[in-house]
C-alpha cells in the first residue's frame, strides 16, 4: 500500500476528476468482476446445486461419504505437505549461502539460473524429467553403468516419480522466497548474538528462526496451495498408485457431465488447503515466541515480526521491483 504521507500529498497536489478515475478503473473492474469475482463465487455456489439447478448437499455428501474421494483428499494433502516441507528444507541452506556466502557479482547469474526453470512451462519441465528418468534414459543408463539398476527398469509411473517432480517444481519458488528471507536478516544481529556468547543452536532457534518464520509461512502457503492443485504431474508420472484429488477433479471437469460435482471437489480442496495453511501459519507464529519462554521480553520482537508478516502477506502492495 502507499504510505499515508505520499497518498495525501499526491491527492492534494493533483486533484483529479472522479470521471477520469472511473474511466481508468472501468475496463479492469469489468474484467475482474466477470472473470475473477464471478468464477470464484461460482465455485462456492455451483457446488451446492444439482444438475437441474436446485439447491442440494448431494455433491458434498458423495465426496465425504465415499472412501475413495476421502483417501484421495488425504493423500493429496499429505503429498502437498511433504513436498512443501522438503522443498523448503532443501532450498533454505542454498538460499542462505546465496544471500551470505556468494560474491555479489555472481548473484544475478545464480538467480537467473533459478528463474529459468521457474518461468519454464510446467509441461516442459515434466517432459524433461520424463526424458531423464525413463527406461534407457540418462539417469537409468548411468545407474545401470555402475550396476545399481537394470537399464530397462525405471521409477516412471510410481508415486515416487510424482513426488520427486513436484519437489523439483517447488524448489525455485523456495529458493527465491528463502533468499529474500535470508537477505533481510541483518548480519550485525547475528554477529552481536555470537559476540554475546550465544551457541550456534541458540542463534538458530532464537534469532534466525523467529526472523525467518514469517517468510517460511509465505513460502508454505504459496507452494502448498499450488501443489494441492497439481494434476498433470500425477497423471503423467504417478501411475495407478500416485493419483491425487486433482486428477479426479480434472477428469470430471473434462467429461462435461455433472460439472457441479467437479466444482464441489474444487471447493473442498480449496477449503482444506486453506485450513492447513492457516494451522501452519498459527504454529509458526507460536514457534516464534515459544522457545524463549519469556513472553514479556519477546514482545517488541514479536510485534516487529508481526508487522513484517503483515507486509509479507501483501506482495501486491510491497513490490519495489523497478526503479
Amino acid at each position: 500500500m502507499t504510505t499515508p504521507r505520499t497518498t495525501l500529498g499526491r491527492r492534494k497536489r493533483r486533484p483529479r476528476g472522479a470521471m477520469a478515475t472511473g474511466f481508468l478503473l472501468t475496463p479492469g473492474g469489468l474484467l475482474l468482476g466477470s472473470c475473477a469475482a464471478l468464477p470464484l463465487a461460482a465455485i462456492v455456489v455451483s457446488g451446492f446445486t444439482s444438475d437441474a439447478g436446485s439447491f442440494t448437499f448431494a455433491n458434498f455428501a458423495t465426496i465425504f461419504g465415499n472412501s475413495v474421494y476421502m483417501s484421495l483428499l488425504g493423500r493429496t494433502l499429505l503429498i502437498a505437505f511433504f513436498v512443501t516441507v522438503i522443498s523448503i528444507c532443501l532450498a533454505w541452506p542454498a538460499s542462505w549461502a546465496l544471500a551470505r556466502y556468494t560474491r555479489p557479482r555472481l548473484k544475478p547469474l545464480i538467480l537467473g539460473l533459478v528463474i529459468i526453470p521457474y518461468i519454464t512451462s510446467q509441461l516442459l519441465l515434466i517432459y524433461g524429467f520424463v526424458s531423464l528418468i525413463q527406461a534407457g534414459g540418462p539417469v537409468m543408463s548411468a545407474l545401470s553403468a555402475i550396476g545399481l539398476a537394470s537399464p530397462q527398469t525405471s521409477i516412471m509411473y510410481t508415486p515416487t516419480a510424482n513426488i520427486m517432480m513436484l519437489i523439483v517444481e517447488s524448489i525455485p519458488t523456495a529458493i527465491l522466497v528463502m533468499y529474500s528471507a535470508s537477505e533481510q536478516i541483518n548480519g550485525s544481529v547475528l554477529e552481536a548474538s555470537r559476540t554475546l556468547g550465544a551457541s550456534k543452536r541458540f542463534v538458530f532457534t532464537r534469532v534466525i528462526w523467529p526472523l525467518s518464520s514469517a517468510m517460511i509461512g509465505v513460502n508454505f502457503a504459496l507452494t502448498f496451495v499450488q501443489t494441492v492443485g497439481a494434476f498433470a504431474e500425477p497423471t503423467i508420472l504417478g501411475g495407478p498408485n500416485g493419483q491425487m484429488l486433482g486428477n479426479a477433479l480434472a477428469t470430471q471437469l473434462q467429461s462435461g457431465v455433472n460439472q457441479q460435482f467437479a466444482v464441489a471437489m474444487a471447493l473442498v480442496l480449496l477449503v482444506a488447503s486453506l485450513v492447513v495453511v492457516g494451522a501452519v501459519t498459527l504454529l509458526l507464529g507460536w514457534s516464534r515466541s515459544a522457545p524463549s519462554g519469556i513472553r514479556r521480553s519477546t514482545r517488541p520482537r514479536a510485534a516487529l515480526i508481526a508487522a513484517q508478516a503483515q507486509r509479507a502477506q501483501e506482495p501486491l502492495g510491497t513490490q519495489g521491483g523497478l526503479r
Binding site: 468464477p39 470464484l40 542454498a94 556466502y101 544475478p108 537467473g112 526453470p117 526424458s131 524448489i171 523497478l322
Partner: protein, 271 residues
C-alpha cells in the same frame, strides 16, 4: 576450522541444487541432438530432429496457437492492467482493497480450481469451449502480474515530475502522455513480458477452455507425453528454453534485478 566448513558446505549445496534444477532442461537439449528416436544412449550427434521439427505440422501448429493466444492476451492484459494501476493509484481504500483482494486470489488460487470456476461461468454465458473464453481466462490470469509491476513503479514515482509539468503549463493529458507514461514504460514492458510467459505456460486454463480440435503447445505435449518422448519435442523445448534465457537477461536489464519480480518483498520500498 569449524567456522569455514559450514558456509562451504552450504555453497556446495547451492551449486548442487542448481545442477539438479538444470538437469531436466539440459537433458532435453542433449537428447535433441542425439540420434536415438527414443531418447536412449549411447550418444551420437545429429541435427536431424531440428529439420524434422520444421516439418512437424502438429507441433508447429500448436506453437502457433500458443504464441497467438499469448500475444492477444498480453496486449489486453497490458492495457487493462496499466489503466487499472493508474486508477488504483488515485482511488480510496474502499476501491483498492477489493481489487487487490481479487488480484491476490487470482495469483494464489490453483489454476485447476480457477479453471473449474471459468468453465461454469463461461457455460452460463454460452462461451464454453470458445476462443473468446480462452482469451478472457488468459487475460484475467495475467493481469495481476502487470498490475504488480506497474503499481510498484507508480508508488515509487515522485509526484514532483508531474507537479513540475503541471506548473510549466501542461494539461493533465499532456502530463500523462509525456511524463507518466515514459517514466513507467520499463515496468509496462516487464509486465508485458511476464504476462506473455504466464499466458504461454498456463496449461490448466488452456486444457479446460480450449475449443475442440485446437491445441496449444502445453496441451499438445500433455497429450503426447503419455506415448513416450520424441526428439522433435526436445528440439522445440530447447528453442523455447533458449528464448527463456534471452527473456531473463532482458528482464534483468529492464528491472535491474529480475529476481525481485518473483519474490515477495517484506522490506519497504526504499525510494
Amino acid at each position: 576450522m569449524k567456522k569455514t566448513a559450514l558456509p562451504r558446505l552450504m555453497t556446495l549445496w547451492l551449486y548442487l541444487l542448481l545442477v539438479i534444477l538444470a538437469l531436466p532442461l539440459v537433458s532435453m537439449a542433449v537428447l535433441s541432438v542425439n540420434q536415438s528416436r527414443y531418447g536412449t544412449f549411447p550418444f551420437h550427434f545429429t541435427s536431424h530432429w531440428y529439420t524434422s521439427l520444421a516439418g512437424d505440422s502438429v507441433l508447429i501448429g500448436a506453437l502457433g496457437t500458443s504464441l497467438n493466444l499469448a500475444l492477444q492476451a498480453t496486449i489486453f492484459a497490458v492495457i487493462v492492467g496499466t489503466l487499472l494501476s493508474l486508477g488504483m493509484a488515485r482511488s480510496k481504500r474502499f476501491i483498492t482493497v477489493p481489487i487487490n483482494g481479487l488480484l491476490l486470489a487470482l495469483l494464489t488460487v490453483p489454476a485447476l480450481i480457477l479453471a473449474a470456476g471459468f468453465v461454469i461461468v463461461f457455460t452460463w454465458f454460452g462461451l464454453g469451449s470458445s476462443s473468446l473464453g480462452l482469451v478472457l481466462g488468459s487475460i484475467v490470469t495475467s493481469v495481476p502480474f502487470v498490475v504488480l509491476l506497474v503499481s510498484g513503479r507508480l508508488r515509487d514515482l515522485s509526484p514532483n515530475y508531474a507537479e513540475a509539468a503541471h506548473s510549466l503549463g501542461a494539461g493533465p493529458l499532456r502530463t500523462f502522455l509525456t511524463i507518466t507514461i515514459p517514466l513507467i514504460a520499463p515496468s509496462i514492458a516487464a509486465g508485458a513480458m511476464l504476462a506473455f510467459v504466464v499466458t504461454f505456460n498456463n496449461f490448466a486454463i488452456q486444457l479446460f477452455l480450449l475449443p475442440i480440435g485446437v491445441s496449444t503447445l502445453p496441451v499438445q505435449i500433455y497429450s503426447s507425453v503419455r506415448y513416450g518422448v520424441t526428439p522433435d519435442v526436445d528440439a522445440l523445448a530447447t528453442i523455447i528454453i533458449l528464448s527463456t534465457v534471452v527473456l531473463v537477461v532482458v528482464l534483468n536489464w529492464l528491472s535491474g534485478n529480475a529476481a525481485k519480480l518473483f519474490t515477495p518483498q517484506t522490506k519497504e520500498a526504499d525510494g
